[in-house]
């Protein structure tokens, strides 16, 4: 026999349960909406990314084609030399961008891994600066290197990956420097790590955007109308490679006062396969 009060309390309980379920459902719907919005955003960023990549490849190519066609009909050798310089600049930039694009594809496929050799970091940086000589000269930049490591100092790391990290940072520093500006590079070896810092005195990055710059599809200012990706794919590649080499990368910046990037890459001083000692004699088979 059920009396009225039990019945009412049971009904109340069920109503409350219902309310709870509805509240949960509402919360889930909200979460779903948020995820949806993120997806939409990433879709639009993706198409932005594709059009960006297209510009970065097709525009330099068009310049190269046109310039080289002109050269063949030039009689003035000085003019031809200038065009050849321009072709070199475009081709150099194209090569750099393609390296980043392929590095990103390999990293995302999980197909690239550290290939460890002795690296002479001073000559690595010197070679890099030599290869950027024409863009450094055309912007009349003053490059100041202070190094606390000997010229013949070597440490164990992946030279190809290290070069790509440094060249992305140098490329950005050049890109965001004002004409006649200065870039400071320091090299030191601390706590078993190679420390590379690069400081430019260019436009800088807003505080709230600093943490976004390693994001894959983000470029901070979509309106910058240059052929370069700037803080685009290059920095997310840089970050991923730095992670792979067990290193760290950080940035300090103030708007109008330039940016300082610091990369620390640890020395690989032991056989990576021996990173643990077995504590039992016999392995198990699964």
């Amino acid at each position: 026999m059920i009396n009225d009060s039990t019945l009412i309390s049971e009904l109340e309980r069920r109503f409350n349960d219902n309310k709870k379920v509805i509240a949960e459902l509402e919360e889930l719907t909200e979460q779903l909406k948020a995820v949806n919005k993120k997806l939409e955003e990433s879709e639009s960023l993706k198409s932005y990314f594709i059009s960006n990549i297209r510009n970065e490849i097709i525009n330099p190519f068009t310049s190269i084609l046109n310039l080289s066609k002109q050269i063949s009909s030039m009689s003035d050798i000085e003019k031809a030399k200038k065009s050849a310089d321009l072709i070199y600049g475009e081709a150099f930039f194209l090569d750099f961008q393609l390296k980043n694009i392929f590095a990103a594809a390999e990293l995302e496929a999980g197909e690239t891994y550290p290939q460890i050799y002795s690296v002479n970091v001073v000559s690595t940086v010197q070679n890099l600066l030599d290869s950027y000589q024409s863009s450094i000269a055309s912007k009349k930049l003053d490059i100041v290197i202070s190094s606390s490591v000997a010229n013949d100092f070597t440490f164990k790391s992946d030279p190809g990956k290290l070069t790509l990290i440094y060249s992305n940072l140098l490329n950005n520093a050049i890109l965001f420097s004002k004409e006649g500006g200065k870039i400071e590079i320091t090299l030191s070896f601390e706590y078993e790590s190679m420390v590379f810092t690069i400081k430019d005195f260019g436009i800088g990055i807003e505080q709230d955007k600093v943490k976004l710059i390693f994001d894959r599809f983000k470029r901070l200012d979509n309106t910058i109308n240059t052929l370069s990706s700037g803080y685009g794919l290059g920095l997310s590649v840089t970050k991923a490679i730095t992670d792979m080499l067990n290193g760290t990368i950080s940035v300090e910046s103030e708007v109008g006062n330039g940016a300082t990037f610091t990369v620390m890459i640890p020395d690989v001083h032991m056989d990576i396969e021996a990173t643990g000692t077995a504590i039992d004699e016999n392995g198990m088979l699964f």
Binding site: K38, S42, A104, L107, E108, A109, G110, E111, T112, Y113, P114, F214, D215, R216, S236, V237, K239, A240, D243, M244, N246, M270, I272, E273, T275, G276, T277, A278, I279, D280, G283, M284, L285, F286
Partner: protein, 155 residues
């Protein structure tokens, strides 16, 4: 038999016989094997979930397992013949990854992703306080497993 050392945030699959070694702390490795084609693949991820920032590399569990399956299918495997084994996810104090409970969350991500993909888990050794060294034989799908004291925080 060819040997391959699998680094964190990478993956490997092959239709010829390989001996793949990897060392796991809080990281998780998912070994997939097609018992008909006798093709094996393995990943080694460090964090559970890609949050849409940075490159979508196999550093993240959800990406790593889906990409590995994709690679297996490209090698001619059928999803219905694939089984999985999971290793790692220990509670290792790791200077590289500061997040809390990362091992446990990595294990959870492997189980969830495999459940979504309808791939049965036929073997596992996960959790605990120790690191692991595993050798995966891609042709037989067998895994030789040893507990180790981790000395480096690389995975």
């Amino acid at each position: 038999m060819d040997k391959y050392y699998l680094y964190p945030a990478t993956l490997f699959a092959s239709d010829v016989s390989y001996e793949v070694t990897t060392v796991l702390g809080s990281c998780v490795a998912v070994c997939l094997w097609d018992n008909v084609k006798q093709i094996g693949g393995i990943n080694h991820y460090m964090l559970p979930l890609w949050n849409g920032q940075g490159l979508a590399t196999p550093k993240y569990g959800n990406i790593a397992t889906e990409k590995l399956l994709q690679r297996m299918l490209e090698l001619g495997c059928s999803k219905s013949n694939i089984t999985a084994k999971i290793f790692g996810g220990g509670e290792i104090i790791d200077t590289q990854i500061s997040s809390f409970n990362i091992g446990e969350r990595n294990i959870q991500m492997a189980k969830e992703t495999l459940a979504e993909l309808n791939i049965p888990i036929v073997g596992l050794s996960v959790g605990g306080k120790l690191g692991r060294k595993i050798i995966y034989f891609t042709e037989s799908g067998k895994v030789l497993h040893k507990f180790i004291e981790k000395t480096l925080g690389n995975s």
